[in-house]
């Protein structure tokens, strides 16, 4: 095919140059990358990424908070683990990329993402492999506090170009949370402890964990010693009956992943029956999945509303 003649070349070139320049100027602000500082480095994220893969539930939370739907989620191969509070916003049009612990790199790659959001401790070992697929940013979801989760939510919103939306959503969040706090009232006289019972062991969420910091935000006390760091073992502490009895919380929020739980088998043992919360009937069962695995703006509001109800029924 002969080249298309553009006539007088000098003139045309000038026009083309002007046109090209104009297009560049118009497109440039759209195509600008954002530099995101995160736990595993600084990463250039394309402006307003469209195909996002998330490897922890709290990142689903952050995206849902600003109305963005991910294309892939590490949902532990259980679609129901993405609760209605999230699917109401993000819909059902996402693909499972496997477990949070060892997500399938192949499936992630096949989704052709332009942003991957990973957990700092879980996915550090595969950060290099993830970065080869798409720009990857990492935040401490697993062992971070409520405050850390909110900060991560802000950074994620910035990465996906939804700063204004997140600012508005966080203002709404504060109003809601303050509302729950007011409804809960002064609980500084109570020591409250969230525990997970998986049938084989119990795990106490310490003051440096997400739930520990959330309960503290609502004004509860915690009888557990505060660890120095915030590693997984310091945030989520495997505990024996003796240790539980020593910590002796006045309120226990129990998330059971097995029925009967290990704690159920302790009923009748003096050491267990004399734990303050058990003795006074202030051991409350809560949704294990929502409390122990979900973290973030929306999740904390679900927990807050839950707490308002729980506190109404606590026995002095």
């Amino acid at each position: 095919m002969p080249p298309i003649s553009l006539g007088s070349s000098m003139f045309n070139r000038a026009i083309l140059a002007v046109l090209a320049g104009a297009i560049m100027l118009a497109v440039a602000p759209l195509a600008q990358a954002v530099e995101i500082r995160h736990d595993l480095g600084t990463t250039e994220v394309p402006d307003a990424p469209k195909r996002i893969v998330v490897l922890e539930y709290s990142f689903v939370d952050s995206l849902a908070a600003v109305g963005v739907a991910p294309v892939g989620i590490a949902d532990d191969d259980t679609r129901e683990s993405i609760v209605p509070a999230y699917t109401a916003v993000i819909g059902d049009d996402w693909k499972s990329v496997g477990t949070r612990k060892s997500p399938s790199l192949e499936v992630i790659a096949s989704l052709q993402p332009d942003l991957i959001i990973a957990d700092t401790s879980r996915h550090e070992a595969i950060y290099g492999a993830l970065s080869e697929i798409a720009p990857t940013i990492a935040f401490d979801s697993l062992t971070g506090t409520y405050q850390v989760a909110l900060e991560a939510a802000k950074t994620i919103a910035h990465a996906v170009g939804k700063d204004a939306e997140m600012e508005a959503r966080l203002a709404e969040h504060t109003t809601r949370m303050e509302g729950f706090k007011a409804a809960i009232g002064d609980v500084s006289a109570w020591s409250a402890q969230f525990i997970v019972d998986n049938g084989e062991g119990i795990f106490l969420h310490s003051p440096v964990s997400y739930n520990g910091s959330l309960l503290a935000w609502f004004g509860f006390n915690n009888n557990m010693p505060t660890p120095d760091g915030h590693t997984y073992e310091e945030a989520i502490v495997k505990t024996s009956l003796e240790q539980l009895s020593e910590i002796n919380p006045q309120v226990i929020l129990r998330g059971k992943y097995a029925d009967p739980g290990l704690t159920d088998s302790w009923v009748g043992q003096p050491l267990y029956d004399n734990v303050e919360a058990v003795k006074t009937g202030n051991l409350v069962d809560v949704n294990a999945h929502e409390w122990s695995r979900l973290r973030g703006v929306i999740a904390s509001e679900v927990s807050g509303a839950n707490l308002v109800e729980i506190v109404k029924h606590l026995k002095k």
Partner: protein, 343 residues
């Protein structure tokens, strides 16, 4: 007990051996190509060919070139290394139950690599094989030193190896319990012998030592045949037996350690592959070593492929599957071999 190894050169024709090696090689290549085609994302053969040879048409560059291909290469390298290591150790310790796993090399390597990962999480990949080698050598050193200075029976040597292995294994268990809970741990997955998340970076740090050591192992095969004749005979034939043993154990240890550093602990391969090979071509190491290496490659590459294909997008560790596929076959071989070779 040690009859299997003591039976030295079985009178089977070299031609038959070579044909077998060729057949196994074809099988290995077929399995390797198959492993490129399986995984959580189904990819048509045409796309795989397009990607491999950069032809026009649809390609899957990341999945084929950056995920499945490095895994395939690592599976082949580690499979051969573990099999060779096992074959050498069985011959040197003169105990058919010996393997890099049994005498503590794998646990030693795993412990040191794990310590490195946990204490210096930011350290570059390159150091992993080195740490694993130090760990593997530490474990093997006990056995080597004892073998060198005390004239112990084969069974005592193996038992000392077992004891050393337990100590290092206890160390691994302790670290996994106190420091990195299973919830957050990549080390946990790696320790089960998995190729999940392995990339060219892992190939880059391991291919040279693994290829070089495998070559050395194959070159030393005739010395294994001499040692297998028994110490007195071997010495009579002019072999410095203690020194050769030390050298062979060193090669075996490094082979197992480097593969542990990149693919984790796959205990069964080192035990199983040499026995399968011995059953196929007899005890002559000149043939048995290459056959064992091919069998090891085949087992690991198949295990990794099946592990990816079985329940996508979840992956089952190759180490677990290698034991699952290999064990029944192994037991069958043992059942049909014993009477023949004990006679």
């Amino acid at each position: 007990m040690s009859a299997v190894v003591h039976v030295p050169v079985r009178p089977r024709s070299t031609l038959r051996g070579l044909v077998l090696i060729a057949a196994l090689a074809v099988l290995v290549i077929a399995a390797a190509l198959w492993s490129l085609s399986v995984g959580a994302v189904p990819i048509p053969t045409q796309t795989i060919v397009n990607t491999l040879f950069t032809l026009d048409g649809e390609q899957q560059t990341y999945i084929i070139m950056k995920s499945r291909l490095p895994r395939m290469v690592l599976a082949l390298l580690a499979g051969a290394a573990l099999a060779l290591s096992g074959a050498i150790i069985q011959a040197v310790i003169r105990n058919p139950l010996a393997s890099p796993n049994i005498i503590g090399i794998n646990s030693g390597a795993a412990l040191f690599a794990l310590v490195l990962v946990l204490v210096f999480p930011d350290i570059p990949q390159v150091w992993m094989p080195l740490a694993a080698c130090i760990g593997g050598l530490t474990a093997a050193a006990f056995v080597m030193v004892v073998a060198h200075y005390r004239n112990l029976s084969a069974i005592h040597l193996a038992l000392i190896g077992v004891a050393v292995g337990f100590v290092f294994e206890a160390g691994v268990d302790y670290l996994l319990i106190v420091s990195n809970d299973s919830e957050s741990s990549a080390p946990m997955i790696w320790l089960t012998g998995s190729l999940w998340g392995r990339t060219w970076a892992h190939v880059a740090v391991s291919w040279l030592p693994l290829v070089a050591l495998s070559a050395v192992a194959l070159l030393l095969s005739y010395r294994l045949d001499l040692i297998a004749l028994g110490e007195a005979t071997a010495t009579g034939l002019g072999l410095n037996v203690p020194r050769q043993r030390l050298l062979l154990l060193l090669v075996a240890t490094l082979l197992a350690s480097v593969s542990v550093a990149v693919v984790g602990v796959m205990g069964f391969i080192g035990l199983m592959a040499p026995h399968i090979a011995r059953r196929l071509v007899g005890g002559s190491h000149r043939l048995m070593l290459p056959v064992a290496a091919l069998v090891g490659m085949l087992l690991v590459v198949l295990a990794d492929g099946i592990g990816r294909a079985i329940a996508p997008p979840i992956e089952v560790s190759a180490g677990i599957l290698a034991a699952l596929i290999g064990a029944p076959f192994f037991i069958y071989i043992m059942l049909t071999t014993t009477s023949e070779q004990d006679s």
